[in-house]
Symmetry: C2
Subunit: 139 residues, 2 copies
């Protein structure tokens, strides 16, 4: 497979605006508008770091997977997202090599990308998202 780069690093936080203010006021980072991702029951605040993005993710209700993550592990680094050229090819290759996938088929991500998650037990405890940018989403 061809990895094009690190698309983003995601951080789970309990209070989006508290941590967002620190990144803005102390680190000088400028956030995009907060995005609601209803199907995952989260809000996302994205900051560009120049070469990649940092995403703050917070649950909108206690049924969110991210809410259970905070209960279990506390706030902190959650996953990394790798941009791939061809997600179907990437998933087939990983399966062939015995890597465990959480998603068996790509699903639609927040900005029209096709995404899938790899199980952390296959990658040294790191939750890895794969993301393929679609040609027709205007990006």
């Amino acid at each position: 497979m061809r990895i094009k780069g690190l698309e983003h690093v995601a951080v789970v936080v309990a209070d989006l605006h508290k941590v967002g203010s620190i990144l803005r006021d102390a680190f000088g980072l400028v956030p995009d508008e907060v995005e609601n991702v209803e199907k995952d029951r989260v809000q996302v605040m994205k900051f560009s770091l120049g070469n990649t993005d940092l995403e703050l993710v917070t649950p909108t209700d206690e049924m969110s997977a991210v809410s259970r993550f905070i209960d279990k592990k506390g706030e902190g680094l959650h996953h990394i997202c790798l941009a791939v050229e061809d997600i179907d090819e990437a998933m087939a290759e990983l399966k062939e090599k015995g890597v465990v996938l959480i998603d068996q088929e790509p699903r639609l991500g927040a900005t029209g990308c096709r995404v899938a998650f790899v199980h952390p037990k296959s990658v040294g405890g790191v939750l890895v998202e794969l993301s393929e940018k679609r040609e027709d989403n205007g990006e």
Copy 2:
């Protein structure tokens, strides 16, 4: 302060070569030579992701801080490193804004950079390293 980009994401693993093999054989990533960082009692295997680096870090003995991290939290994402233009200025600004620093002065990093760590309690549970590349280190 001016953040120039994400320098690397660091992942703590118990078995460097096991996880390294997965990244190489399944994800198609090519590692640099393994580096011994004796003062931190760790070995580091670095992979370029194109726009930034992924570092696998493993303890060389049980006195390593990274060994205690594995005992407490298990393998997984450990810290992010932000490249800054001027680390003295960055640290002064963070202190002024009430952000808690682990290192009060920059120290020498593995590749001749000047580095300092910011306490996770100030940044949504994320351990953040700041790194200033030195002009005279040939990089």
